[in-house]
Symmetry: C3
Subunit: 155 residues, 3 copies
């Protein structure tokens, strides 16, 4: 197992692993929140999901969209759109030899911004709360991509 | 090339590579199934996709949603929401030095659960078939994230 | 930092890092294009996003879907569905010891195809422009997955 544990012994890589696990777990949490709202609001999309509420017409009325469910789903999709680039570019960034303190600054800002973004989306907070938290995460990923391209550039 | 083949010589990493390729190929298959249903059901979303059916009003009737197409698309999005965390957390898990047998157990359960999930979604099977297969994949990813955070924790 | 810079010294891995950063940045660009169309078309989905246009009924008319916004969003989702497998399988492929020239051919074709796909989707070009560019990216990822499974296979 020696080979594979070399990377995880590297401090920058450990920080990357920690923050990536945190933001991916946060993203996974959106599935549970969606399920919670679907069940409490009785708003489903698949006919087979409403069968426990009875057969036929009485169950059909639960096949509907609900504003709270749709809001969580938009937050979930926004996570996918932003956390996927962070995970991919962040891995390359962690392997490009940044200073630990610089790397930690990037990872902490991204994780903080995405957690704030979720609260801003779900409460919801008035704009530009959500917009700003989105922009911070976006900028951090952009900054890491710049370092990756400067270090690795081979077209 | 010596450096880069060290990781792929590691058995846990080889298992991760195998199962990651399998679940990502499975996810990619959803695109083909969507295309198949769009063509056979004649249900498109982009006007330029219906031009081979004629011009103007006669083509416009194919710009519609179809329950089978939407069902595959929901399965595809669910794959994205669940396979992305597996790929990201699974990589870190594979590098955190788990026993091969434990790692294989995680990877096999996840891949099996996601394949089952797709069948449960597309056939569709009565609930809780789809719900349980989703929960197994979710729990496996959570278990790997716990190992990653325990090994790598650096906040 | 020595450990972590070994991978980035490998030429195939540097090429992977370069093209992965490029396609992920291209995907991130879709968020900005969506925001641009939402603002210029005044088509929003969250009530809190329209508050700067006034309160109550006067703002509600901006809560609507717009064909251009929806088109960019479909392009964005298609990116997620195709670039996620490239990033995951491409990493394993880069670690499976391919020839640099072969790897560059794969990465260049994928990046070129996805950039073409975005233009084909947003202009839009007549079919089969978008379909072909999608198929090229899909086939490249499939070819890399074949090499990964041949090299790493451990089930």
């Amino acid at each position: 197992m020696a080979k594979s544990t070399q990377l995880i012994d590297n401090e920058v890589f450990r920080a990357y692993a920690t923050y990536t696990a945190i933001v991916l777990l946060k993203m996974m949490l959106m599935s549970l929140i969606t399920a919670y709202y679907r069940i409490t609001r009785k708003a489903f999309v698949n006919p087979e999901d409403t069968e426990s509420f009875g057969k036929g017409e009485s169950a059909k009325k639960f096949l509907r969209t609900d504003p709270d469910v749709e809001r969580v789903r938009r937050g979930h999709l926004n996570d996918l759109e932003n956390i996927v680039p962070f995970v991919g570019i962040g891995l390359l960034y962690a392997l490009s030899g940044p200073e630990l303190s610089t790397a930690l600054l990037h990872f902490r800002m991204f994780a903080g911004a995405r957690i704030l973004h979720t609260f801003a989306y779900l409460i919801p907070l008035p704009q530009p709360g959500r917009g700003l938290s989105w922009a911070v995460g976006y900028s951090v990923t952009f900054s890491m991509a710049y370092k990756v391209l400067k270090t690795a550039w081979l077209l």
